[in-house]
Amino acid sequence: MSDAYLAIEGLTKAYPGVVANDDVSFSIEPGQVHALLGENGAGKSTLVKMIYGLVKPDAGRMTVNGAPYEPADPHAARAAGVAMVFQHFSLFDALDVAENIALGMDDPPPMRELSQRITDVSEAYGLPLDPSRRVGDLSAGERQRVEIIRCLLQNPKLLIMDEPTSVLTPQEVEILFKTLNTLAAEGTAILYISHKLEEIRALCDHATVLRLGKVVAECNPREKTARELAEMMVGQTLHTPTRDYSEPGEVLLEVSDLSLTPANEFGTRLREVSFELRAGEVLGIAGVAGNGQDELLAALSGERTTAPGTITLKGQPIGRLGPNARRAAGLLAAPEERLGHAAAPGMSLTENALLTGEVREKLTSSGFVAWQKARSFAARVIEAFDVRTPGTETAAGALSGGNLQKFVIGREILQRPDVFVVNQPTWGVDASAAAAIRQAILDLSASGAGVVCISQDLDELMEVSDRITALTEGRLAPPRPAKGITIEAIGLMMGGAHDMDVAHPEEVHA
């Protein structure tokens, strides 16, 4: 197409052992909101990194407005009008907003002028932001505003957004979409990467689907169902988790008036958190990351200890017990951060299985490791949860995110916990692995265990939970039955959008 802003032809990039992109071609027109779909490892990140000048393609060519485009680095990409909002925010906690924005510009004006422009643009797009605040003190939504405004200040012709909504409340997502629609109406092309298919159907007018580095389909996402889109990505029929609703049993876990000061300066204080968890029940806890999820998990798993009576497991006070004592008592946990928290990246799967399975699976005897038993336990996890790995001696860090997540969750579930606490069970995990993990959680609760599932993904919570509550700034809302609850209602429990208002398109060029 001659009127395309960016055209990509035959782009190929190989890394040792894997072809990340294989002969990828597509084009984006001005004003188009173009979705890039694919599972983890389908090559989306490599592709946008090539467009943004972070990675050089092995073969193929790109053109911008018909002229050859070969960005050597991100400076060149920005000069050509390409801007990018990163999945993992590329922000500097210790610097203030204006400094962060200056770092993303090639020719920033003096600081005072820049602050004024930040204020102007942020007001014009309904994204209020104080240029002098330290980024480390901002909420996730505010941090994303910093990234977006950094891009907007350079009047981009193409805006790349990599998983922008994973940390936002539904209300914040709505405002983001209004901003993006405003930009598209002004002629900015938007390349939008997301796992959330409903969002793509709402926002995008064109989609390119990648599978194993190849373009497998192009479509208008509005004409497809989310299920059809997911099946295009996976290349097979999707399995939807099934469940039986059952009457919850006796109270297994009781948390009353749990307050906890954060372990570091960027943490969140837990404030009088109270809930009950019954046998056979999944309690879903919604909330945007950074609202106390990590602290709640640490308090429940025993990484942080509290007053004895604040947490009782089957009538026994366990607030003072450490993680191994709680494991012995039947409470297991899987934290969010896979590498470095849930698993030690440099250690083998056997060793990782041993780390949490030691107590309940009796993998040591009189201080010596029973390697044979540990290996067979790891093998059972791999087998039962379809973890794709060469073997039990592979380093945890070598597994893909989805496979490691299946291993980490499976390792706990196979220990038959009475209470299982999990944080972000499917974060960054592709559709088929996510479905398997959710099914495992439902099966666990059906077998009579109680599950606390902390997640930012509201669709997921509505799928697995019996009751739903939300954690906001360390406070827990009263749980409500999940049946019949709406996304909006959960959003309200989460506190909604903080001081965001709707974009005012007419003021943009004022």
Partner: protein, 305 residues
């Protein structure tokens, strides 16, 4: 002989603190870029011996300082190549650099033991140096003392108000993000490490050319470690580096004066006091939390695709 003259005490405090101030300021810039170079002591002692050798052979202390800075920077490049290009562990490499520098300096220094330094003229600033009290304290020093103070102001200005300083801080705070925005992390760190090496070399040369002034094996006597401690004490802020260096220098001079004045406290306690105070202050700082440490400090950076 038995009373301490406060004017001379403060004046000699400034001289005693200058080597630590120079080295600590350099190391602060290195750490601000996210690199922990524990080789300060090694670079200082190398600067001390090279500066002294050049000074004795040419008769010019100024030339000695220049070459000492180059020697410190050169040695730091060994560290930079090993840690930034070959991605080795910074702590182990830095310790190795210190041991290497100590050995190298005693090899180079053998022929120079017992020789006197050529001397370094003081800048007797006319008029100002005649002011009573303030004159002898502030205006009768050698140029290096003023240079060190000037460097504090310069580093502070560059870090706070210039784009180069902002990029340096960004690289130290989050190297992955800086890389994603297109900044050359490794290049910035090489430059910071070279600056740190040059400053450590200058500090070392100041010990052998002015403070002592002769060559004695191992003469920096832990000044490099004190400099490292001061960076933490100062929470990575230039003016607090000045405060910290003068504080430690002051304690050092005071204990020397107390010894000379015939204090009844055993000499050993007095000589260990600066180090004890260092440990004490570090403990107090650590209790308050790790405020101001660059986010990527001592983490290995590898630009994976």
């Amino acid at each position: 002989m038995d009373s301490i003259n406060p004017i001379l005490l403060i004046a000699s405090l400034m001289v005693a603190s200058t080597p630590i101030l120079l080295a600590a300021l350099g190391e602060m810039v290195v750490e601000k870029s996210g690199v922990l170079n524990l080789g300060v002591e090694g670079m200082m002692i190398t600067g001390a011996v090279v500066g002294f050798a050049i000074g004795v052979n040419t008769g010019s202390s100024s030339l000695g300082f220049v070459v000492a800075a180059l020697a410190g920077a050169g040695l730091s490049m060994v560290f930079a190549i090993i840690t930034q290009l070959l991605l080795s562990n910074q702590v182990a490499t830095g310790l190795g650099l210190t041991l290497f520098g100590l050995g190298l300096s005693s090899l180079i220094g053998k022929p120079y033991v017992g020789i006197k330094a050529p001397g370094f003229a003081k800048l007797d600033i006319p008029l100002l140096s005649d002011i009573p009290v303030l004159g002898p304290i502030l205006f009768r020093h050698d140029p290096m003392v003023y240079l060190s103070l000037l460097m504090v102001a310069l580093v502070w200005y560059l870090l706070t108000y210039t784009r180069a300083g902002l990029v340096l801080r960004a690289v130290g705070e989050n190297h992955a993000a800086a890389h994603a925005l297109g900044y050359k992390v490794v290049r910035v760190r090489f430059m910071a490490i070279a600056f740190g090496g040059a400053m450590a070399g200058l500090g070392g040369a100041y010990v052998s050319l002015v403070r002592v002034p002769q060559w004695v094996e191992g003469m920096t006597a832990g000044a490099g470690w004190i400099a490292l401690a001061i960076v933490v004490f100062a929470s990575w802020r230039p003016w607090r580096i000045l405060l910290g260096a003068y504080l430690f220098g002051g304690i050092n001079v005071l204990q020397l004066n107390l010894q000379a004045a015939g204090s009844t406290i055993p000499v050993e306690y007095l000589s260990m006091s600066p180090y004890l105070v260092t440990i004490l202050v570090l403990v107090i700082i650590s209790v308050r939390g790790n405020h101001g440490a660059p986010g990527s400090l001592s983490r290995v950076f590898h630009a994976s695709h």
